[in-house]
Amino acid sequence: MGKYVLRRILQMIPVVLGTTLLIYALVFALPGDPVKAMFGEKPVNDAVAAQIRSEYNLDKPFIVQYLLFLKNALTLNFGNTFAGRPVIDVIAGAFPVTIKLALMAFVFEGLFGVIFGIISGLKKGTWYDSVILIVSLLLISVPTFVTGFVGQYLFGVKWQILPVTAGRNPGFLDLLMPACVLGSVSMAYIIRLTRTEVASNKTADYVRTARAKGMSNRAVTMRHILRNSLIPVVTYLGADLGSLMGGAMITERIFNIQGIGNTLWQAILRGEGTLTVSIVTLLVLVFVVCNLIVDLLYAVLDPRIRYE
């Protein structure tokens, strides 16, 4: 087990190196001059521009820039934004909000996805199942920003139950609607996954054997059908936590949440290589760690999987 974890952690190194290099190259290849972008419409003094270029290493070749970034990153110095704020501060300010949002979305999709999925799977073929299926299909096919705007209009403007946007330092209620919108698509997938698993496990041979033992329907459902059905669902949920952390760009923009997604969006717009790469590196790390946790969790849930 220890060996396995170590090997997985070592595997992270090439993954992180590869992704950062790729992102760095993409940002570098973006059209437009970041220095000009900083000054907006104002004319730029050549001497000032040159100084800024050298300060941010923009005058050096791409690969040197990348290596310098890596060197600094190793000492946790991610440099400054063009506005002069340390990158690490920007991230520290935005990340907690994203974590809060992601966790709320995670709880929402996990709870309701599993519950509806189980009901749907157990009552397969009934009108109940059909309604849940149609709703989940709707959620999958409608883009997040549509769900978001509809939510804003209905709950925020029309009925005025929840705030329309979140703003700075959002609380639980501020984030409730964004979290539901963010988690809705995954919830729909979880419903479908759980439903399929439950429906197929329901007719499994070992479930029949359990019934033949004289176990009550309730015990059979809990101990045999649900326990086995939830293994793939947990795997999906774990992997999804990673994407929730990074994938909130659209939702954060709709609800004006100052999280990682929003920050990343602005960094890309401004061509801020350091900030973009730093955030993406962080997201890659979060994703890789989440995946590792999922794999370890899988071994706990399914005794057939053993890591050595």
Partner: protein, 678 residues
């Protein structure tokens, strides 16, 4: 558990049964079961009748789809999917359970009717420990883990066993693992005090150690064992009463698993199903089925997925257990020989109906219904001779021809050279997480004579399929050679290999998996011709027609797809495909194992006729010695990668040289039964 006691009691069970009033335990009358499908309803079972008396083994025999499992499952209220009982009645001990609610069925499942299901691989939940799954059966039925629950029948047996000193409840307390060491210690002291013979003491102790199992052996059994060893009755009673005071849940789980024949049960109970072999899982399932001491056990093909020798051991054990517990068994099987050997009464089902039922030997020796007659004739376990070819089977007019053919056959065989020769074949595999290599095939040499059938027999894991794969050049040997027509197969270049592939064709076990579901039958059979660039479109079509003819399938089959065909038809297609290139050798890897007996019989006859007509040589891989007898000229017996015996079929069957071969032969069900076929 006391072996001697129970063996003795089981021999008496027949007598006890006949004393008791013949009130049926299970009575199924005019049972009708329907499945609702999108196109209407389909009747799986109609007018099915059978009766099981207490302590009796009744077998339901039939091919897959005959409704035998469906009938049995309706007794448990566990019909799959949309199945439901639409007519007739099911009575358990006089009570009508036909229209029980699911809650009512819950109350009789496990406690009154147990189940040992068919496929040990899929019937245990992979994520729970074996012990936990046994425990579920104990808890669900509110079983007292401290003492044995004995049926009335078994109580009477116990009473006769102890000369009327059986005291019921407290006498049924189990040994607990906590008290077992003290019990053994005291027993030693008691035995030592009555005899000076050290050897006798050791012998008695060895007996105790083996027989006294925590969670399984009871107080009265301990007492009787002590008395049998010469301990005075008072002392035996004192020891048994002091140290046999009931078991814990863990003891009981281990006890049940031990009873089912699982060694080292206490440790095994903590393992997961994937750590068990098929045979061990089946034992766990038997322990589960008997955990709540049901009056009736439904055993649905309990050993069909297992090797013959394992099958025999498990059934022997199950029979011994159910006899000692007085449990009646409804035994479902497709093997008539097996049914006749194990059950007192046979019910034959065909297409959802009971076509015949009666005492086992009666059914076997005087089958009335045409289907039963065919079944008896086809049962591989009952066949005693090699199939003779169609020409030889021919009518009187063809007698001359057949004589001629037989003569030619004999001549050919006598003078035949070897077409395939295997020399000192070794195959090693790397084991995961282990340094040493696993020898799957260990120095195997044999040869296949032209125009004959050589069978490789062995249990799963014996390396027989590995040998076949090396002969087919699908796997490279670690050392040793495979000679085809005197040339080393593994030294072939690409062109030679293609030519070799053309002459040596495989037919695999699973006719469902070896045909591409997206290919029409025509395309499947034509494919090898195309690959080898033989003929044009027109001649290939003609060849496919000819091949379908050869395997007795209508021309219309060409346009169909594998999913529209039955297992037997698919296997015929697989054979037709193998025949397409006019091969010299066909390697059949368990080619008939997945088929029902009657279909199996047809396919074997087909293979045999093709051999007679085309002079084919077969390398026939199988675990079923009964099939070997029907098809093979020579037999290679393999065990754990090694060649155990290599001789002609007659020699192997009539005078087996090794104990292992004898065990294999003994394990053929129904081998000792006599038939009376016209």
């Amino acid at each position: 558990m006391s072996n001697t006691t129970i063996e003795a009691s089981s021999s008496k069970s027949g007598a006890t049964q006949s004393d008791s009033a013949p009130r049926p335990l299970l009575e199924v009358k005019d049972l009708q079961v329907q499945f609702t499908t999108s196109t209407g309803s389909f009747t799986a079972v109609r007018d099915s009748d059978f009766t099981v008396y207490p302590g009796q083994w009744v077998a339901i025999v039939g091919e897959s789809g005959s409704g035998k499992s469906t009938s049995a499952m309706s007794v448990l209220g566990l019909l799959p999917g949309t199945g439901h009982v639409t007519g007739g009645s099911i009575k358990l001990d006089g009570e009508d359970i036909t229209h029980y609610t699911s809650k009512q069925f819950e109350s009789i499942r496990g406690k009154r009717i147990g189940l040992v299901p068919q496929d040990p691989m899929s019937n245990l939940n992979p994520v729970w420990r074996i012990g936990t799954q046994v425990k579920e059966a104990i808890v669900a039925n509110g079983m007292d883990v401290k003492r044995e629950k004995r049926s009335e029948l078994a109580q009477r047996l116990a009473d006769s066993e102890t000369d009327g000193h059986y005291h019921g409840d407290d006498d049924e307390l189990f040994i607990g693992s906590a008290q077992l060491p003290q019990l053994i210690e005291n027993a030693r002291a008691a035995v030592a005090s009555v005899t000076d013979d050290a050897e006798a003491v050791e012998k008695a102790m060895a007996h105790f150690n083996e027989q006294w199992v925590a969670g399984s052996s009871t107080r009265w059994q301990v007492r009787e064992d002590l008395i049998a060893a010469g301990v005075p009755a008072d002392e035996a009673k004192r020891i048994a009463t002091t140290y046999v005071v009931g078991a814990t849940m863990d003891d009981r789980i281990a006890g049940l698993l031990t009873e089912a024949g699982l060694p080292d049960a206490a440790t095994r109970a903590r393992q997961y199903p994937y750590e068990f072999s098929g045979g061990m899982r089946q034992r766990a399932l038997i322990a589960i089925g008997l955990a709540a001491r049901p009056e009736l056990l439904i055993a649905d093909e309990p050993t069909s997925a297992l090797d013959v020798t394992v099958q025999k051991r498990i059934l022997d054990h199950l029979q011994f257990l159910t006899d000692s517990l007085g449990t009646a068994v409804l035994f479902i099987t497709h093997d008539l020989g097996l049914a006749a050997e194990r059950a007192q009464h046979i019910v034959v089902m065909y297409k959802g109906r009971v076509v015949e039922s009666g005492p086992s030997l009666e059914v076997l020796q005087h089958p009335q219904h045409p289907y039963t007659k065919r079944l008896v004739a086809a049962a591989p376990s009952l066949a005693s001779q090699r199939i003779i070819s169609a020409r030889q089977r021919g009518d009187a007019a063809a007698a001359d021809a057949s004589l001629d053919h037989a003569a030619k056959d004999a001549q050919q065989i006598a003078g035949s050279e070897t077409i395939i020769e295997v020399q000192h074949l070794v195959k090693e595999f790397k084991m995961p997480r282990r340094k040493e290599m696993f020898r799957a095939v260990d120095d195997v040499s044999f040869s296949v004579r032209r125009g004959t059938t050589c069978a490789i027999v062995g249990e799963s894991g014996s390396g027989k399929s590995t040998v076949a794969n090396m002969v087919l050049h699908l796997l490279d040997p670690t050392s040793g050679t495979v000679l085809y027509e005197g040339k080393d197969v593994h030294s072939f270049d690409r062109r030679q290999l293609l030519d070799f592939r053309r002459h040596v064709q495989p037919v695999f076990q699973n006719p469902y998996g070896s045909l591409d579901p997206m290919y029409s039958i025509y395309r499947s059979i034509e494919e090898p011709l195309k690959i080898h660039g033989i003929g044009n479109k027109k001649t290939r079509l003609a060849r496919v027609r000819e091949l379908l003819d050869m395997v007795s399938l209508p021309q219309s089959t060409m346009t169909r797809y594998p999913n529209e065909l039955s297992g037997g038809q698919r296997q015929r297609i697989a054979i037709a495909r193998a025949m397409a290139l006019n091969p010299d050798v066909i390697v059949c890897d368990e080619a008939v194992s997945a088929l029902d007996v009657l279909v199996q019989d047809q396919v074997l006859h087909l293979l045999n006729d093709l051999q007679a007509e085309q002079g084919l040589s077969y390398l026939f891989i199988t675990h079923d010695l009964a099939v070997v007898r029907q098809i093979a000229d020579d037999v290679v017996v393999m065990r754990q990668g090694k060649l155990v015996e290599h001789a002609t079929t007659d020699e192997v069957f009539n005078s087996p040289k090794t104990q292992y071969t004898r065990d294999l032969l003994d394990a053929i069900p129904g081998g000792s039964l006599k038939l009376g076929l016209d």
